[in-house]
Amino acid sequence: MNELVWIFISALLVNNFVLAYFLGLCPFLGVSGRLDTAFRLGLATLFVMLITAFCAWLLNTYVLIYAPYLRLISFIVVIASTVQFIEMVIKRVSPGLFRALGIFLPLITTNCAILGLAIFATNKGYGLAEGMIYALGAGLGFTLALVLMAGLREEAELAPVPRLLRGTAINLIIAGILSMAFMGFAGLFSAA
């Protein structure tokens, strides 16, 4: 039980996918301009992550032990189809959200955070429960980073930021400061 707690906390805060592993930077920098969009994209990513973790576990347990070399290809295929599916669902259920997420929804396919989740969970040898908790932590962590970033960026938009810094440079520096702040979580719940 405690192990699951640690896996969750570790993926959520200590080894936050964006702020410690640099995964999912493209959407992190691209979609974090608006708070509500960021939040929804975060949840979409979380959802895809959960499904991916489940599929990765299935693949690992029943297919990849016989053909480990197919790992990458099969993960990619699973993620691509999942995203396709979610895209269809969102398009039907909420056209507004579909417009808001725009180009970035198909790009979840190449969102390294999703693929990274599948690969890391495999490397760490997680079972089903651990993998799902890991996905939950990673997805919530991604959402948290995205939402914090979006809030900060909306404020920074109003500030007289020097012209040269506008755009990606300031966003990266904000991310750097956030990443420094998240260092405070190091060792959380693992300390003796």
Binding site: E3, V5, L70, G125, G127, A186, G187, S190, A192
Partner: protein, 264 residues
């Protein structure tokens, strides 16, 4: 110029006609087939080198943590006993037995893992059952802070603490320069958390394995649960429960619970 050519070439091949779905499926199948073929051949070509390298790394680590051994044997714990087995199976827990030239068992190299300051630390440690001593510790994987936490493998003084270290009643990390008892380890100044994590991972490995390891040398006994060890220390409460089953299936992952506040 380049813009013009871009437009001209934008729709190559069957520009206006909708390709049949058979053709789409066929294209993807051929692509998949070819890619599979390439991947399998590269995999087959590189596999021996990769396996040999991994085995070499592991072997070197085992030789580092166990003194004066001649050869090693991978042992898996099945049906309450240790059996030699070389193929890996994630369902089984394994240790490495180290033997001297005469084939007598010297000790075991036990893999263990647990949370460190930043991420999971994986390590291997040598254990000699006849003396109940840890004989060495080698970090296999860690992401501890450079310059601080990474001293758990860069600081030879700290690594040296694990040579001839008593395990009873439990290994303890104490403030640097204050270790007096044979079961105490000097923690690294400024990296107390990482040092304590290493010690905790060792204790965790002991909890999981000690009752499963026969002390006698030679052939690992089959199907014997009662272990001929001097005594199982009463101060480590987990030990009593440990032999009941192999609770965790993955040799890389420690069994049972992370001791949330253990060792405090």
């Amino acid at each position: 110029m380049s813009g013009g050519s871009e437009k001209a070439l934008k729709t190559p091949g069957c520009a206006n006609s909708e390709p049949s779905s058979t053709r789409l499926v066929a294209t993807l199948s051929i692509a998949g087939l070819l890619s599979g073929l390439i991947i399998v051949s590269v995999y087959e070509a590189t596999l021996p080198t990769i396996t040999a390298y991994q085995a070499k790394v592991l072997r070197e680590a085992v030789f580092k943590v166990l003194p004066e051994i001649d050869h090693i044997q991978r042992l898996v714990y099945v049906d309450g006993g240790l059996t030699p087995k070389d193929t890996e199976d994630p369902e089984e827990e394994a240790v490495f037995g180290g033997y001297d030239a005469a084939g007598e068992l010297v000790g075991y190299a036990i893999p263990s893992a647990g949370p460190g300051f930043q991420d999971t630390i994986r390590l291997l440690y040598g254990y000699v059952p006849s003396e109940r001593l840890v004989t060495g510790m080698e970090i296999l994987e860690s992401r501890e802070t450079p310059g601080l936490g990474d001293k758990i493998y860069k600081d030879l003084e700290f690594v040296g603490e694990f040579e001839r270290l008593a395990i009873d009643p439990e290994i303890l990390a104490v403030k640097k320069g204050t270790s007096t008892a044979p079961n105490e380890v000097d923690a690294i100044t400024g990296a107390t958390i990482s040092s304590k994590a290493v010690v905790r991972i060792l204790n965790e490995g002991n909890r999981r394995w000690l009752s499963k390891l026969p002390a006698a040398s030679g052939q690992p006994p089959a199907k014997r649960r009662a272990v001929p060890e001097p005594e199982v220390s009463a101060t480590t409460p987990h030990e009593a429960a440990a032999p009941s089953a192999a609770p965790n299936t993955d040799p890389q992952q420690p069994a049972g619970s992370w001791p949330l506040e253990a060792g405090g």
